[in-house]
Symmetry: C2
Subunit: 367 residues, 2 copies
């Protein structure tokens, strides 16, 4: 994706050859700032405080965290300690563990003096793999959009609703849910995106709308409450969302509120697709409600970040003093509401047999 | 309801005996200010700018607007002009037309010199009627809460989810959706309320949470995205919402997002009740999708009112510059998702026959 006309990724090696640059996503869409990570605690903080978010980018950041760890202490103890610190940052994202396991598997069997170089190489490879995976997801999803576009008369857009940000900013490049959209737009298809603002952290406002704006994709921002109404009135052709974790049976754990949109899509016979790199599939889980749901700080509900008329970016309080808050961060969309899963290997039904057939090597491993 | 320990209504005659006092609900929950209305344009502005909102309170404000009109010009032309101005303020609320029609019917058959006094009397009566109606709704809804409370073990609350503000502040007193809750709480039943913040205008944050706080009813504020997850996990026993307009067939038009909660309640076998004074039933409509849905200004989506740390109350921008916005204000919940309608005459199924049987005099009129 391009930012101010320049192609960029969301994470890259700094010119110094060892530290790691990311974009601070907590101050979007008002500021664009690059932050340099120089240690495991830097990486852990970037994940916990959500300077980086989105399963694939969390994984990439953790992978580079392991490289920074090896630079400082390449012993088994150093490796194990970095693994633990990074693993504890976000409980829900399966990608985090997947990336850390991949790094550990490469590093553990090497002598200590080779670990630093190998860790940087593997982290870079993990990032390139993510880009390739997302591009493939885009190619498969593009076919769905092409098919809908064929049913439209001239000038009528394909209306796609998305929730949260499974975009470029959630990955190393392309995004997952946005990848088919960018591919369709770049091909000249007439696509229009309904962007859920995605309370409480407003990733739709801050990230998805910002991305689409930068890339020139037509869109409207709506509140999370509006999608059902738009679907009832034929204004949505397709829902595409991402996922933080997908179960072997096709249950999908994604940003809070996804389940409500899936219900509305189902009620209005609108296809509801979930894009995912297969790394987010947890073949050991057969029921989404088993997934531990992160309960985040209530201040995310009571306060919101915005820009005042004078340009100051600040948090303001929305709720009355003294009102208690609850803030579950994710919900589970049962497989029965999912039309299909768009993976790097193709589109597959959200059920155990179909997923196992598409990823036999991983499905076998879990049992 | 009590505010700072003092029983209050939301609209009342000023001590001067002719002007009308209301509470400015646009600056809640941070400020509490009383505004005096002295003319039809004052009343129209109070309704359009949502200083007052909620179908019953809009009706009461319009009724007093007619009284203020009669004070200035009690001619048929004055009556007709005030009716038009007030009627044009909000297209969706059926109560508005109902209250204006009631006032006009009383006034038109009187000589001009009796109209002012009669208008004030009728507006006061309309307010008293609203209080009585809401109290009756509370009594009927209370029985539902009592029945659920009986299934709970000691210390377990009855968890009720509500959307938007169909509370005291939306009516002259008691509220509609909150009336059963206040009655249950006052009886000593253990009730706990999940308060949807209700974007884009955050009436849940600003109004419902404020009210419940003042009255001491246990509650948590949640984002609109969270309700489905809470229902999936058995944390909601009952949904009670209000309605701006109810069709003869039981379709319900209420704040945007209500439909999504109804879908989630249905998917989890949780009773979904709608409270309404029968004045909000439009017996001439048999299909909710015929209701014209107000598209409000996009700035309600892009901006939000909050309080900065230094106490300043200000609007901040949430969305990126240049991102277009869409802002439908209401949605329609089909009758098939509504467990029952709680009216002043009792609880009734959301269907044509049941509604017509309970309100034969109104159902007959429409055909």
């Amino acid at each position: 994706m391009k930012v101010n006309g320049t192609p960029m990724r969301t994470i890259w090696l700094n010119d110094d050859g060892w530290s790691v640059d990311i974009i601070d996503q907590t101050i979007f869409p008002f500021c664009f700032e690059i932050v340099t990570l120089r240690s495991v605690p830097d990486c852990a903080r970037a994940i916990t405080d959500m300077l980086v978010r989105g399963a694939p980018l969390i994984g990439a950041t953790a992978a580079y965290g392991m490289a920074l760890a090896m630079r400082k202490d390449a012993s088994d103890a150093g490796l194990s300690s970095a693994y633990e610190v990074l693993h504890a940052t976000r409980p829900t994202a399966i990608n985090l563990k997947w990336a850390l396991d991949r790094m550990r598997a490469v590093l553990l069997c090497l002598p200590q003096n080779q670990r630093e170089a190998a860790a940087y190489t593997e982290a870079a490879r993990l990032c390139d793999d993510d880009v390739a995976v997302n591009s493939a997801i885009g190619d498969h999803g593009l076919e769905l959009i092409k098919a809908i576009a064929k049913t439209k008369t001239a000038g009528e857009p394909v209306n796609i609703l998305t929730h949260c940000n499974a975009g470029w900013l959630a990955t190393v490049d392309w995004g997952t849910a946005t990848s088919p959209i960018y591919k369709a737009h770049d091909l000249g298809l007439n696509v229009h995106v309904w962007v859920d603002e995605t309370r409480p952290r407003n990733q739709g406002d801050a990230l998805t709308a910002w991305e689409l704006n930068q890339h020139g994709v037509p869109h409207h921002v709506i509140v999370d409450n509006a999608g059902g109404h738009l679907m009832q009135h034929g204004k949505v052709d397709l829902v595409i969302v991402g996922t933080d974790r997908t179960c072997a049976n096709g249950d999908v754990c994604n940003k809070i509120g996804t389940y409500l949109k899936a219900l509305a899509a189902h009620d209005n016979n609108i296809p509801f697709y979930v894009t995912l790199p297969s790394s987010t599939i947890d073949f050991s889980l057969n029921d989404g409600v088993q997934i531990p749901i992160e309960e985040r700080d209530g201040s995310e509900v009571s306060h919101v970040l915005g820009r005042a008329e004078d340009g100051t970016v600040l948090k303001v309080q929305l709720t009355p003093d003294g009102s208690p808050l609850a803030n579950p961060a994710f919900d589970v969309t049962p497989a029965r509401l999912v039309t299909g899963l768009i993976t790097e290997r193709g589109i597959v039904a959200a059920d155990t047999a179909a997923l196992a057939a598409l990823f036999p090597e991983r499905a076998g491993q879990a049992h």
